[in-house]
Subunit: 152 residues, 2 copies
């Protein structure tokens, strides 16, 4: 479910509103993230942006993703393949990730039950919890099936 044109416009305005320039690379990166679902790495984003702005350098991707994360527009995720991955932070859509160790497919899941737990953790530890990451690793239905056929 890609973002609507209006939602994309909002993102761009948020950026300008905070005093950051809306440059070519930034515009394209925002559009790319908004129009494509998924959890691309910096490298994948770079490859995609280069199709439209061939000169774009890798450093710009890192700088932009860092900025977008600081602005709260994207979320960075650790998917255990020694690179960061990113996704648009659609507000009100808090979810977690299930990663297939067979084919690297990423499935999303929400867990409202778990969210309630944060309060318990806070009172037990006296920490102020700002953010949490939960990733589950396992086998997707396809890979689980293949594994079963191959005999554990």
């Amino acid at each position: 479910m890609p973002l609507t044109a209006e939602a994309i416009q909002k993102l761009k305005e948020k950026m300008k509103g905070k005093g950051f320039k809306l440059t070519g690379p930034r515009r394209k990166i925002l559009e790319y993230l908004a129009e494509n679902d998924g959890h691309p790495s910096a490298q994948e984003i770079h490859a995609a942006i280069r199709q439209m702005l061939p000169g774009t350098g890798m450093a710009t991707i890192y700088r932009t993703m860092d900025l977008l994360a600081r602005l709260g527009l994207v979320r960075a995720l650790v998917l255990n393949d020694n690179r960061l991955h990113y996704e648009i932070d659609r507000d009100g859509d808090h979810h977690h990730h299930l990663i297939c160790t067979g084919c690297r497919r990423v499935e999303e899941f929400a867990s409202c039950t778990f969210e309630h737990l944060i309060g318990d953790i806070e009172s037990a530890t006296r920490f102020v919890v700002k953010r949490h990451d939960l990733e589950a690793y396992g086998l997707c239905p396809d890979c689980a099936h293949k594994a079963r056929c191959a005999g554990e």
Copy 2:
């Protein structure tokens, strides 16, 4: 709560039992992990081992940690500082981590409620879940206090 001498002995035997040599570095690394609580990085382990076995190379630390993880004796953790951290896998002590973004202090917490959820996730997504990581980031009581004094 460091491990007892007998528990350490068990670890060493487990290693030999599986056909791996109990070498100087391996012995020291096991003892270091068992006797010190915490969540050291490979670099921290290296520094500690070098006090006792000055010649020890970094590659040996990585190789040993990898072996210990494969043997199920240690667990590797992602604490968002772009290096892996490790801890002895005391059996039956499944817990998660709360990381203070102010001072990097790591607190442990268990969450039996959450563990139940894994089954729900499995039936909702049809994935076979093998393992999950949950980390919460926030401010420890001290850092939260300091932040409050400094005025948000």
